[in-house]
């Protein structure tokens, strides 16, 4: 019988993480607030010039515009340039045990203080109930990837960016959805803390915490919980 191409690859993980202490040290909340503000600014800048695409384009189109704009902002936003080297879309990465070699998070932010092997991952999702882009999809096709160790398994934080085209909000949709799932057994999302607004942030961003149960390959411990920063950007009424 042919062997599945999805099998753990210890050598891949060992090569990637050699000399690293996993999980990596957490990022400071202040840095993450700044990054959230820049993501928000990139969107607002785009809205001024690419409104039509932003209001009707596919997720990939939006991600592409965000990547370009975030890189362009490195030229003009001194604070952003201090934190990030560049942003890449769909950069390939491996899963926590090397089973998958071609995982492609939507956006990877390469930080100036961190090895390029471990970017800050931003997974992006459209929220539009009319097109069946629901909060459930946001969690199943997005959040779950962090919990399973497909994305961001070496780090302790990641972003989820929602392009909201209906009236959905974190408080009205995401929080109740995760609360309800937490009451079921098993809770797929292993929610440790429901989304809470980040105080003192310039933008509407909330943080949830999710346990991760996988173990690092060749090590006796796992990564612990991951903090997911949810940034939901509402599109203006069309």
């Amino acid at each position: 019988m042919k062997e599945s191409r999805f099998h753990p690859r210890e050598d891949q993980v060992a090569e990637l993480t050699r000399g690293q202490s996993l999980p990596l040290a957490p990022l400071h909340e202040e840095h993450l607030k700044c990054i959230a503000a820049v993501l928000n600014r990139a969107w607002n800048d785009l809205m001024a010039e690419r409104r039509a695409t932003l209001l009707s384009g596919a997720e990939a189109e939006l991600n592409s515009l965000m990547e370009i704009r975030l890189n362009a902002l490195l030229e003009t936003d001194a604070l952003w340039a201090m934190l990030a080297r560049n942003v890449a879309r769909g950069k390939e990465t491996i899963s926590f045990d090397g089973s998958h070699l071609e995982k492609r998070p939507d956006l990877s932010i390469y930080l100036t203080d961190r090895s390029p092997s471990f970017p800050l991952v931003v997974e992006c999702k459209l929220i539009d109930i009319r097109r069946r882009k629901t909060v459930e999809l946001y969690c199943e096709d997005g959040l779950l990837r962090f919990v399973r160790g497909d994305y961001g398994w070496a780090t302790r934080e990641a972003f989820m960016l929602a392009y909201v085209r209906d009236n959905s909000t974190i408080v009205a949709c995401l929080r109740p959805f995760l609360r309800e799932r937490r009451m079921k057994q098993p809770d797929l999302y292993l929610t440790d803390a429901l989304p809470e607004s980040i105080s003192g942030s310039d933008v509407h961003v909330a943080r949830s915490s999710h346990n991760r149960e996988f173990r690092y390959v060749g090590l006796s411990h796992g990564p612990g919980a991951i903090a997911i920063w949810h940034l939901w950007i509402a599109s203006p009424t069309q």
Binding site: E15, L16, T17, R18, G19, A78, L79, M82, S117
Partner: protein
């Protein structure tokens, strides 16, 4: 630990991008970022461009190569030769021969060159290599200019093995092409690129091997508009008339723009070439005590880099040099909010802190001072630690490692 050489390179990175080791050896994280910006342009190398234009012969690019070698003791006697070591050089006789003085200008005045008359040379070199219009590159960049020495000869010229030549005789636009390449290779970004990627230059040798010259990225000449070609003529003529640093300035800016580099990248390149070239003069300059204007520039750069953080807290930030009460190999600056009073704040423990730092062979001390609400930054009193690039790197480090201090600025 030298703060200017304390980057972490993962094994994964070293495997996939081995050039990083050399880049961080001679440069810094800022150089690596500029290099990444440059290679993201996916420009062809000089070698690839030349091959595409002129073709190859025996797997080597045509009309390009080292100059002739003089007869030496090791020159062999050829089986089908005349029974004497080396080869006859008569086919090169009467060619004007390049002199070191002639390479001081960008356009070689062939009429002032002596005629070549050696009887024999070590190995034959193709006659086509010496046909004008020619780009000639000296293998050893002069320490005082921090530029690859390149020149153009519109007529045939012979050059020795210390030079690399590129004859554009077969190209209808050859005259302008070699002028363009002379500007490009003579620019600061070109020497910086060679320093970053050469396996020999800046590692074990002070000369640049042809391989490193050939790896320099080239914006395709054919893609230039008529206006840009006129610009090449103008820039070249200005430099041919007066080969000064002032005249090179616009060339550096122009090449940087072709490479997709930013003005701040050019500053990084200037700092790296000033302090990290492998020449004795540069090493000496790197170790000298920084001047007052250098320290002032360091402070103003650090201040402007940190300003966005201060603005988040609604306060101003100020970076000021500190006069130490004792003779010291360290220089200190104070980073903090603008003081309300003129009373001088001071750290009493400097002698002990610096004693420990010296024992650890550290080159930087960062000390957040809760009592005075500022942060003391001490660095070895050598010019290489007080450049603009170093100020930017220090600001970046403070941003990542002292964020509580930066956020707390608003509390005072």
């Amino acid at each position: 630990m030298d703060v200017s050489n304390a980057e972490t390179v993962t094994s994964d990175l070293a495997i996939h991008r081995p050039e990083i080791l050399k880049i961080l050896f001679r440069g810094s994280q800022l150089d690596l970022e500029a290099y990444d910006r440059l290679i993201s342009r996916r420009l062809p190398t000089l070698d690839a461009y030349w091959r595409a234009q002129f073709g190859t012969s025996r797997k080597r690019p045509k009309f390009a190569g080292n100059g002739y070698q003089k007869l030496r003791k090791s020159s062999r006697v050829r089986k089908k030769g005349d029974g004497r070591p080396g080869v006859s050089a008569s086919y090169l006789h009467q060619l004007p021969e390049l002199t070191p003085e002639a390479m001081q200008t960008l356009l070689v005045d062939v009429s002032r060159l002596p005629k070549f008359s050696l009887e024999r040379i070590h190995d034959p070199r193709p006659r086509e290599l010496f046909r004008g219009p020619l780009l000639i590159v000296h293998e050893a960049p002069p320490a005082q200019t921090a530029r690859i020495r390149a020149a153009v000869a519109d007529q045939d010229v012979l050059f020795s093995e210390s030079h690399y030549g590129y004859s554009a005789n077969e190209n209808p636009q050859g005259r302008l092409l070699v002028r363009y390449l002379a500007l490009l290779l003579g620019s600061r970004p070109a020497l910086w690129h060679a320093l970053m990627v050469s396996g020999k230059f800046g590692f074990e040798r002070e000369v640049i091997e042809k391989f490193a010259i050939d790896k320099i990225p080239v914006f395709p000449f054919d893609d230039f508009s008529a206006a840009e070609r006129r610009k090449i003529e103008r820039l070249f003529d200005d430099l041919a008339e007066e080969n000064t640093e002032k005249a090179w300035g616009p060339v550096d800016d122009w090449v940087a723009s072709l490479y997709g580099l930013r003005p701040r990248d050019l500053q990084v390149i200037a700092d790296t070439l000033a302090y990290n070239l492998p020449f004795a003069d540069n090493r000496k300059q790197a170790q000298t005590v920084p001047t007052a204007p250098q320290i002032k520039l360091f402070c103003s750069t650090l201040e402007s880099e940190l300003k966005p953080w201060a603005q988040r807290t609604g306060k101003d930030i100020q970076v000021l040099p500190v006069q130490l009460p004792l003779a010291s190999p360290w220089g200190v600056v104070r980073v903090g909010h603008v003081p309300r009073s003129t009373a001088r704040e001071a750290v009493q423990d400097w002698r002990e802190i610096m004693r420990v730092a010296d024992r650890l062979a550290a080159t930087e001390i960062v000390l957040p001072d809760v009592a005075t609400g500022c942060l003391w930054l001490a660095r070895l009193n050598q010019a290489r630690y007080w450049s603009t690039s170093q100020a930017k790197l220090a600001a970046r480090r403070i941003t990542w490692e002292q964020v509580d201090f930066l956020v707390g600025l608003g509390n005072r």
